[in-house]
Symmetry: C2
Subunit: 429 residues, 2 copies
């Protein structure tokens, strides 16, 4: 972990820059996969499963028998833990479903909005070493609360041709309507264009490797909605001399273990704490099964000593971290001043792991500085708001003449005429 | 206008397909412009102004003197009309700014979201034959209500090197912080990457021609936020035998006059109305200054006779129109069943022009079927929601063990350890 002392403000911009990812090579190979799936459908999906995942699949769809069998394979204790998380995620995401008011902007002119679900959504859950069943909860629960009719889940099968039972179990209890054994860029293609087996959806959610990310980027430029642009995961911790260095080190390491490209930033106004945290990291690293990954991630990571906690926060607002942990005495006051972040964890007991799994907030969050313009996934991500207006005689009489003038000034006489005819019909009654 | 009678449901999908726009040629030329602006900044912008707009510009930024002078050039009657529209747009968009509740998902686990403005936003206003000052109102008013600090507006200057005074006037009264004489794809590049004059922003809004649309698509794939994907404007009108054919014809024509690629769809269950509307279109067309444009647009447009109004609505929900006008006796009941549309106009006096200018709803809406996944521009489009959580001893004691189990099952021991350390610290007190 690189250590910096009191960097001048001119250098902040540079320090906020994430490592560039070279995407040029990816573009061609991902486009090739997308086009293959678009033209050859299931046949392409089966070929890619054989090529990339080394499995020969007949049915791409997970059968009801596989779904029924999964529950028995999940330990009861884990089921209970998942249910605690599920209840909290449901409670928080249900609170985001709010009715809109009808606004009478002028007497006789009523305007309002209504939430309507995106009818068909696709969730991508990566495969790999660990089964990320928590992401199933984070995506399927708000989709179900929003009222999405078709909730499609794609995830690659393991070498045994099966999907981890915990993923299937989580999909089952959260209302996923169908599960397909398809991974990588080809899964994004399948949900974007549809194949014989996999239905086309209107919006695609979920994390993935650089191929998946690139595929989402390309289908987005064709007009398909995606949750948000993606980059490596990151945490920024602000702590003062009252913080427990072991807690800070553990929070930094819990981010570093995600992947070798994870970003970890530690800001403090206490040189003593800085030194103790760095020492704690070395101790805790030894115990970590994913030590090698964490070590690589720490090489891109920085610890910065600032003159004050306020300066730490100013830097954080410029950096716009995905996760921001504020581990200081007056953490709530500092949190009030956050302008750019994905999710903020206030106080010494609010560790990122809580939000990753079970507190109720969503863990699908904007990385790479995207928190300057994007929020994380929420129930609204699975809804769109339709505007409605109902104008009566009194209303069009009041605003009609203004519309006529404005339409005329924009040289849109057809627009004007639609109003004039109505105003005349009222006068002539 | 093509007329269809009772098409079978198998044909609906095809009828909902918009004309394909070939974007392959555009890609290269727009990328060239973007890269030029990225590397050469203002110099590139001045060159493009000379090349495309035939003007030689020294200052790209509109001066305070130009802003001060603009108000005097706008007729008082138009100013009053603009103020009527502004008041309604403000009222409706202010109602969208709502505080979020704090949710205690588990005793000791508080989760909430807070709206924070996107600090820097860019608004693009096209030039061309008509000055689209109404779009300034539709974008700048919610930006100001959201609390955006920097509201940048780019629009091309006319051949006299000036910007239409009504656009400047609207920008002045809505809180736009700076105006630049830059148009086309180069304006999008300037706001995406920044130049010596034009600041970089975090999110870009606004309509434009195919170059502008392509430029927004490309900068979006670099992670910059944009309002929504764009296609040609469109209206779908559902009317029954009680509708005034002149109103229906005027509404269809007000969309057709937008551009030759506008989409106009008319659905009814009354053959008599269908015939009378088509006849009315011919009559009203003669009076329309933009007749030639409307005529071209009508060539891509269809009128469909269905067996019932319910079928009309089913088709509309599949088509997902940008604007949906319901001109029937029980229009409110039918509006209840809308699942996919940008903005819905209920009843005979609710013409699209009302929403385009002055009722209060936003006129920046999803086209091209994007209404299946996207809503129109709203105050929320200029905000992002940050999640917060504050967990105390009691809270982490309650959910901690579940987090430990889930993290372990995902092989993320660092995540688990961050909780274990906290649980141990509580036990050891």
């Amino acid at each position: 972990m690189k250590t910096l002392l009191y960097p001048s403000i001119e250098k902040w911009d540079q320090l906020c820059t994430r490592p560039e990812i070279d995407k040029a090579d990816l573009d061609q190979s991902v486009r090739f996969i997308l086009n293959r799936v678009k033209s050859d459908g299931d046949e392409a999906l089966r070929e890619y499963a054989l090529k990339f995942d080394k499995i020969s699949l007949i049915d791409l769809k997970v059968s009801q028998a596989e779904i029924d069998a999964s529950a028995g394979k999940v330990p009861e204790k884990l089921k209970k833990a998942i249910n605690v998380a599920k209840a909290n995620i449901e409670k928080f995401h249900l609170s985001q479903l709010r009715d809109e008011d009808i606004v009478e902007t002028t007497p006789g002119v009523k305007c309002w909005r209504k939430n309507k679900p995106v009818e068909k959504v696709g969730l991508y859950i990566p495969g790999g070493t660990a089964p990320l069943f928590s992401t199933v909860l984070m995506l399927a629960i708000p989709a179900r609360i929003a009222g999405c009719k078709q909730i499609v889940l794609c995830t690659p099968a393991g070498k045994d041709g099966r999907i981890n039972p915990v993923i299937i179990y989580c999909a089952g209890i959260t209302g996923v309507t169908e599960i397909y054994k398809v991974g990588g860029a080809q899964a994004i293609a399948a949900m974007a264009y549809g194949t014989e087996s996999v239905p086309m959806v209107y919006k695609i959610f979920g994390p993935g490797n650089q191929y998946v990310t690139k595929a989402k980027e390309i289908v987005q430029s064709d007009g398909l909605a995606i949750d948000m642009p993606a980059g490596p995961s990151e945490v920024l911790v602000i702590a003062d001399k009252f913080a427990d260095p072991a807690f800070v080190a553990a929070d930094l390491l819990s981010q570093a273990e995600h992947g070798i490209d994870s970003q970890v930033i530690f800001l403090t106004d206490s040189m003593e704490l800085q030194n103790r945290v760095l020492a704690e990291i070395d101790i805790q690293l030894e115990e970590l099964p994913r030590k090698e990954i964490a070590l690589s991630a720490l090489q891109n990571s920085i610890s910065i000593l600032f003159a004050s906690i306020d300066e730490c926060l100013d830097f954080s607002n410029m950096y716009a971290p995905e996760h921001l942990i504020i581990n200081t005495v007056n953490a709530s006051d500092i949190a009030e001043k956050v302008t750019n972040a994905g999710s903020v964890f206030i106080g010494k007991f609010s560790c990122e792991s809580a939000g990753d799994y079970a507190s109720g907030t969503n863990h699908t969050l904007p990385t790479n500085g995207f928190a300057r313009a994007f929020g994380g996934v929420s129930t609204e991500s699975f809804l769109k708001k339709i505007t409605f207006q109902e104008i009566d005689e009194k209303g069009i009489t009041a605003i009609g003449p203004s519309i006529e003038l404005m339409a005329e000034a924009e040289s849109l006489d057809g627009h004007k005429n639609a109003v004039t005819l109505r105003l005349n019909s009222i006068k002539n009654v």
